[in-house]
């Protein structure tokens, strides 16, 4: 690495205060024990059927046994910053597919938006019933070499990974419970209830008992596990395109009882495949007529159509400006400094300093196509320079960031630090943006690698957000009773799906009870 990356746990080789207890427990475990635990973890994952499809083969997603910890104060900052960002992006989408006032006010160049391949003209004029377009988002966050948390990328279309967040917590509790004892960790199990509540709130006509479905491309999709998982946990039907049809601008589901109207579709299908009338005509995954049904407000589509224009990498440098324009606030979480290559001065600078910068194609995802200047050969630099000069709109450039590292268990059972990034998830129910206290920390398993995306063989870590006080340990229904102000919300009863993992304090109590019993029997 060019710069000295910060470590999440260690400062000058010594654990930070909040990590001290964990570090002590970690050091008690020998490398051969780690290898055994890794095997236990693999077996647990295989038995649960928790897999991810990479290159056509199903395999377990390797969750590293060392958790990543975020203390309450830092989480507060992250949470507030994410809420702010989502609110601004919602207003942006409403504007861009509506009045387009932001062009008149010269906030973002119109040509940037209209040349985006994700700017879907068929979304123009569609107004969701409760105004929400970003029902679920995954905001990728990194810590740079100065310790500053920054947003790396927004994911507003179909961000995946939350099922692994929930399963990672269970796996960790199963394999390394001893690490949990000294910590009060906020639960992640509310996510399905919160998602369901947001989807219910999105229903047209404020229908209090809407028919919600999860739309999946099918069993062959790499994220199918997550689609089935969420459908199951929310207690709603998992459907494929061919189970649905549109008639008279309404959407119906083919069931043995006949046709049932569908009110909300949580779709995990790209816009391009959603409706052959408006998008790819040869798509067999979608439902002809669904876009027009959404326009007529007979069905709600989550996430909204055309969100891709807001997570377009070319828009990314403007997001801080959007926050100021729509909310009159300064961004709480900064961007990574990014060069807008359509500005001649910036383009000049970038072309001259390619060897020191990271350049990313706007259209790519999953970490593909990125050129890391200091690592590239002369030929690679020359060829990417040519591509950029031919089409600067399709590229952004950023300085190299040394992503923070976190201790990780290696195959031989030793502990070594590896680069990480972080994807927290947020759910917008129209009244508030709720950020899941936790998220997917992704770790690049190969030393020095900074590209951590799971589609390129990265791993993940359980992420612990520590509580600041007892109230955070309350379960969702209790919290909801405390905090819901809007009388309308009281009618929306979240489906009670029993948490699979007991909050940590109750688990400790149970264990204490058992020990007492054993002592009595002795």
């Amino acid at each position: 690495m060019l710069f000295q990356a910060l470590d999440e746990f260690l400062v000058n080789g010594e654990p930070r205060d909040v990590i001290a207890d964990l570090w002590r427990e970690l050091c008690k475990i020998q490398s051969n024990e780690w290898i055994t635990k890794a095997k236990q973890r693999d077996l647990y994952l295989a038995m649960q059927g928790i897999t991810f499809t990479l290159s056509g083969i199903e395999r377990p997603l390797p969750v590293d046994l060392v958790p990543r910890i975020i203390d309450a104060a830092e989480w507060n900052q992250l949470e507030t910053g994410i809420k702010q960002r989502i609110k601004a992006l919602e207003l942006f989408l409403d504007d861009v597919y509506g009045k387009q006032q932001l062009f008149i006010d010269r906030v973002v160049p119109k040509s940037l938006i209209v040349t985006s391949e994700h700017f879907h003209r068929s979304a123009h004029g569609i107004k969701p019933a409760n105004g929400v377009r970003i029902h679920v988002s995954g905001i990728d966050i990194v810590r740079d070499q100065h310790g500053v948390l920054r947003v790396l990328e927004d994911n507003l279309r179909s961000p995946s990974g939350v099922s692994y967040v929930l399963e990672n917590r269970r796996t960790m509790a199963h394999v390394v419970p001893e690490l949990f004892y000294e910590y009060s960790i906020r639960s992640v199990d509310e996510y399905p209830e919160r998602l369901l509540a947001a989807l219910v709130a999105a229903a047209p006509d404020r229908n209090p008992h809407p028919n919600v479905v999860v739309l999946t491309p099918g069993v062959h999709n790499s994220a199918h596990f997550e689609h089935a998982f969420l459908a199951r946990r929310m207690g709603v039907e998992l459907v494929e395109g061919r189970d649905l049809y549109c008639k008279n601008n309404q959407v119906f589901m083919r069931t043995t009882k006949g046709s049932e109207q569908v009110d909300v579709i949580y779709r995990r299908i790209d816009d391009d495949f959603l409706d052959p009338i408006h998008f790819k005509a040869d798509s067999v995954l979608g439902i002809p007529g669904v876009v027009n049904a959404a326009r007529a407000n007979n069905v709600a589509i989550a996430n909204g159509i055309g969100n891709g224009v807001a997570d377009d990498k070319a828009l990314y440098p403007y997001v801080p400006k959007l926050i100021e324009y729509y909310l009159n606030e300064k961004p709480i979480i900064p961007n990574v400094e990014t060069f807008d290559l359509q500005e001649p001065a910036a383009l000049d600078y970038v072309m001259q300093n390619l060897a020191d910068l990271v350049v990313k194609p706007v259209a790519a995802s999953g970490g593909y196509g990125i050129t890391i200047g200091p690592r590239a050969t002369k030929d690679e630099l020359k060829s990417v320079a040519k591509e950029i000069s031919q089409n600067p709109r399709n590229w952004i450039a950023q300085p190299l960031i040394a992503l923070s590292t976190c201790p990780t268990i290696m195959e031989d059972g030793s502990i070594a630090s590896r680069h990480i990034d972080f994807r927290p998830f947020a759910v917008n129910d129209g009244h508030d943006v709720w950020v899941l206290p936790g998220g997917l920390t992704r770790v690049a398993l190969v030393e020095g690698n900074v590209v951590v995306n799971s589609s390129q063989g990265g791993g993940s870590k359980d992420t612990w957000v520590l509580t600041s006080n007892e109230s955070d340990l309350k379960s969702y229904p209790e919290q909801a009773a405390d905090t819901l102000a809007d009388p309308l919300d009281q009618d929306v009863v979240p489906t009670t799906v029993g948490p699979d993992v007991l909050p940590i304090s109750r688990m400790q109590q149970q264990e204490e009870q058992q020990q007492q019993q054993d002592l009595n029997n002795a």
């Binding site: 059927g49 069993v219 089935a228 199951r232 039907e237 998992l238 459907v239 494929e240 061919r242 189970d243 049809y245 589901m253 083919r254 069931t255 043995t256 009882k257 006949g258 052959p276 005509a281 040869d282 067999v284 002809p288």
Partner: protein, 297 residues
């Protein structure tokens, strides 16, 4: 439940039953053809292959097995029905008990070891795997719409297979061993013998059509199909009397059957069409198949 899932449950049941039926049939026919050198073997093989609805002119026992074992893409053959069962199971994997799903996969995996030359052992392995799958299903499957559709499919397929077997009239080609072979190929020999009725072709036919003690008789399977379909009707609040009509009429004909050999034959022949009509009715009422839609513009 989603029509697509119900449809796959139904056909999973039919294909599993078909695989079982064909395996037993093949074991017995293979034995029969090998042992009986008096009859014109080729004629016997052709009779059986046509009766099973297979296209081809097998000249001997081995060729018959090869033809009936068949290929993955022909669901009228043994391998095809196992393959189709697995394909349907994959499509509804999320609603099946995971053990059941694994058992079907295991069944499919055993077909790689199939030996056409010495089929007896391979066929018994398949029967064992099927028994395991069915057993797991009985133990673990929740009694929901999917289970009812599956059992409905099995009952209808069983009726169809029985009628095909009986219309082969093995006793014409193999006067001595015909009736016993017929009973063996549905696993009914011991049950029949306990009835202390002479082993004639007529009484065997009557038994396999009418018996209330043998669970695979046409009468018992029709009764089961009726029960399952009524359960589905209750759960979906859909009408099924019209769909049940051909089955119901068959049931009463069997119940009030006189000693008439012709009537018995008529029932045997009518069973297949009753099953076909019921299947079509179920499809239209519950699955509303759209086929594969290819959009042009």
């Amino acid at each position: 439940m989603l029509s697509r899932l119900a449809e796959s449950s139904f056909w999973l049941g039919r294909y599993l039953e078909r695989a079982e039926g064909m395996s037993r049939l093949l074991i017995e026919f293979h034995q029969l053809l090998i042992q009986d050198s008096r009859t014109h073997v080729k004629r016997g093989c052709t009779l059986i292959s046509h009766g099973l609805g297979l296209e081809g002119e097998p000249k001997n026992a081995r060729e018959l097995v090869e033809l009936a074992y068949g290929e993955p893409l022909n669901p009228g053959t043994l391998l095809g029905s196992i393959h189709s069962a697995r394909s349907n199971a994959r499509l509804i994997r999320d609603i099946l008990p995971s053990d059941f799903y694994e058992a079907i996969n295991h069944l499919n995996a055993t077909t790689e070891e199939f030996s056409v030359a010495a089929p007896g052992r391979s066929l018994r392995v398949i029967l064992d795997r099927l028994a395991v799958s069915n057993g797991i299903f009985e133990w673990l499957a929740p009694v929901d719409e999917s289970a009812h559709f599956l059992t409905l499919g099995r009952s209808l397929e069983r009726m169809d297979l029985m009628s095909r077997l009986l219309s082969l009239k093995l006793e014409i080609e193999w006067r001595d061993q015909g009736p016993a072979t017929t009973l063996r190929s549905v696993g009914a020999l011991n049950t029949y013998l306990r009835e202390r009725v002479p082993l004639t072709s007529q009484s065997v036919q009557r038994f396999l059509v009418q018996s209330e003690t043998f669970p695979r008789s046409i009468a018992e399977c029709a009764k089961r199909a009726d029960t399952e379909l009524r359960e589905v009707a209750r759960m979906t609040q859909m009408r099924v009397d019209d769909i049940l009509r051909p089955i119901g009429m068959l049931e009463s004909q069997i119940k009030f059957l006189a000693d008439d050999a012709d009537e018995l034959e008529k029932i045997i022949y009518q069973t297949s069409s009753a099953v076909a009509q019921a299947t079509q009715g179920i499809g239209l009422r519950f699955f509303r198949p759209i086929g594969s839609i290819v959009w042009s513009n």
